[in-house]
Assembly symmetry: C2
């Protein structure tokens, strides 16, 4: 039995959208997959809480359990696929499977972003393959690309649209003149956003993905907490329209840069030039730009979520395991490209020291002198203005938007200037601030 004899025996934990599609792919493409790797992928044991109560796809002759531990402890299995998500019991299950010498495949970005050290180290010490291609950007094979294809290069920046929900909302605000709340409701109706959407729209999901991407791109350890995270709730249609007037689109970008020994890690709404390919990435699609010394810019685009694309990524990891299961540790490729203990601990640039160009929208009284007051506050912080759009109204009692684009300025200076401006009596509410990235390849 086993890989050497042309068979890999699989266990699967979780039969949700992705799990069911994994079963479908394994069955539907069984003969092709066997021909490709000269090895049959045999689903031997499946666990799901609701396996006896809810409909599920035909599982062939696989054993069924409601207890995931039955899968992890099944001595016949060579590989366990974990698709239940969350921290526990996923963490303990994966660690137990690894400890038992099984290969593991997971789509659990939250677990790996937060408990990466424990999981990656365990897999490396035990010498088992750990696949997690499905955990970031669904069907886009960005993890394998960073780990293998771009391995010869030194990367200095990565820019990603990695949350399909936010990209759907921003696209709808742009193309259908929808306000944020309307677009969010539409995303919820489409099944793209949860009833409590904060995990997506506050940027947490993107920050978890960025944690893994940055470790792979730069070979550094990234604590999830080090990622500066800002979501898209504060944006209004007005901002989308002004952005276009300046020649930009607004995207929620996950950004990692490596410069002068420091690593920058941030997730926030970002203005990207309309001529850039990222600007053309609409709807629930994802895309990632990587900038390397030898390669220059490269871009990877596709469906970042959904059952079939994510399942295809899971099965690609299973196929990888047919080549490495049972081999010595030295033949295993560490999940992050470097063994965990070989990752560098690079200092993270504090957000206050990040330099960027900014778009800032103030809501101001429509009267003379307002621009002078605001420009004065910016000048005090040595922030120079690249352009201004000021719209008057016929009814001068109402407030109007005043929009400023700055030249490159430090985050600390901008914040200090905004604190002062937000207190001016002619300024209503808080300024909305969007960073600008010009050089996306």
């Amino acid at each position: 039995m086993g890989v050497a004899a042309g068979e890999l025996r699989l266990g699967l934990i979780g039969l949700g959208t992705v799990g069911s599609e994994v079963v479908h792919l394994l069955e539907h493409n069984a003969d092709e997959l066997a021909r490709k790797r000269n090895c049959r992928l045999r689903l031997v044991h499946v666990a799901s809480r609701s396996i006896h109560t809810k409909p599920h796809p035909d599982l062939g002759g696989a054993r069924l359990s409601t207890d995931p531990w039955a899968v992890v402890r099944d001595p016949e299995l060579e590989l366990v696929v974990e698709l239940i998500g969350g921290t526990e019991p996923a963490r303990s299950l994966l660690l137990a499977a690894i400890e038992a010498g099984k290969a593991v495949v997971t789509a659990n970005k939250a677990l790996l972003a937060v408990h990466g050290e424990e999981i990656f180290s365990a897999a490396e010490e035990r010498g088992v393959p750990l696949g997690f291609e499905a955990s970031v950007a669904g069907g886009i094979p960005i993890l394998r690309t960073l780990r293998e294809s771009l391995a010869a290069d030194r990367n200095h920046a990565l820019f990603g649209i990695v949350n399909g929900t936010c990209n759907y909302i921003l696209t709808m605000m742009r193309e259908q003149d929808a306000e944020f709340e309307t677009a969010l409701r539409s995303a919820q109706d489409e099944g793209l956003a949860e009833a409590d959407p904060s995990f997506d729209i506050d940027g947490i999901d993107a920050a978890q993905k960025l944690t893994l991407l940055a470790m792979l791109a730069f070979g550094v350890r990234v604590p999830f907490e080090a990622v500066y995270t800002e979501g898209i709730r504060q944006l209004s249609q007005t901002d989308i329209l002004f952005a276009r007037e300046f020649g930009y689109e607004i995207k929620l970008l996950a950004i990692a840069k490596q410069e002068g020994g420091l690593v920058e890690l941030r997730v926030h709404p970002t203005m990207v030039p309309q001529r850039s390919l990222l600007a053309g990435v609409g709807g629930a699609y994802n895309a990632i730009v990587v900038q390397g010394q030898a390669l220059g810019s490269s871009l990877y685009f596709g469906r970042g979520a959904g059952g079939p694309p994510t399942a295809a990524a899971v099965v690609s990891d299973i196929l990888d395991a047919t080549r490495t299961c049972g081999l010595a540790s030295a033949r295993q490729l560490p999940g992050l490209g470097y063994a965990w203990k070989e990752l560098r601990s690079a200092p993270i640039r504090p957000m206050d020291e990040v330099v960027s160009e900014y778009y800032v929208r103030f809501q101001v009284a429509d009267q003379p002198g307002v621009l002078a007051a605001i420009a004065g506050s910016l000048a005090e912080q040595s922030i120079s203005i690249a352009s201004v759009i000021q719209r008057g109204r016929s009814n001068s009692d109402a407030s109007v938007p005043l929009v400023i684009r700055t030249h490159a300025a430090g985050e600390r200076n901008l914040k200090a200037a905004l604190r002062q401006v937000n207190q001016l009596p002619v300024v209503e509410g808080q300024a909305v601030c969007v960073r600008i990235e010009e050089n996306l390849g």
Copy 2:
């Protein structure tokens, strides 16, 4: 010695642009590469015709030869990189290295497109790794992506901008109002086109790349001769401008489709919708769209040529070999995803049976009845017209362009109609014909 002891001993044949950059990357990134794979890449033997007469990069302690056979026969080497291109002696050298049990890495698309059966079969029978990522689209890791990342899926179409020279020329015609000859000269001045540019601009280079891409995407044997090939010489600025009026850009696309058991393989100028990402791929960049059943559309973009990107692809193949050198045949991943003998022999759809929408530009006398005559010929072949642009001139002696966009029609019918139209006395010269692709993801 050897991989097990943490060292891979390399030979390199060819010290041109790419070869020199490979040497640079191996030296410049030596420590990082060793940390990634727990294996040092040691350049032991280098051959170049001009090694004693031309300047070359520092080769450390490597042995130098003018005879490539000295590298292939060097018993100390575990891997040979071939970067001399062309058919012979590259073919014999690769076969000899394989026969000697060495891993091989090459960027030689012409060799693999035409002599693929011989080279791939030899590597598989001998059980040695064969890397050729650099042979298609330079720094874009499309081959590894098709072979590994998309391996779980069934692909049904692939569209590629894979010739940077043509894309540079078409971009210049579009953005700088240049005619074809001017743009070609500019490409030659930039070092992007050869003195004899026909290999690039007649689509042969793209057809060779498509041969390899289609085999990988569909798991079928593709004889290079089966690719229908048409270049960009016949295009004029007028066509670029009309395309934009219809909402398209013109790109030289390499297209592979699999439908109803038949495979379509063609390289020709193609109108792609302005809203598609491929339309935004400018200059010497390359991009490839893959459409799969589970994954939907995904796109891969980057620098398709040049020393550093191509060298990065070569070194990524060397890194792969650190994991598989010396392993049993069953652990080697065949170069085309399937072992050569497992590739299907799918019938190729004859070009006459391809169905497409068309843009056709006629140069006609500016007089009444011309459109009626042309429309009549098209109607006889059951080709229906989607739209027409007809431009009059003040001086009615001169001929004017008449442009027609058709609905979907068979190639055979279109050709028959054009034969008839080209003979009308009111039509000057030959019609220019560009196929339209709407569904690029």
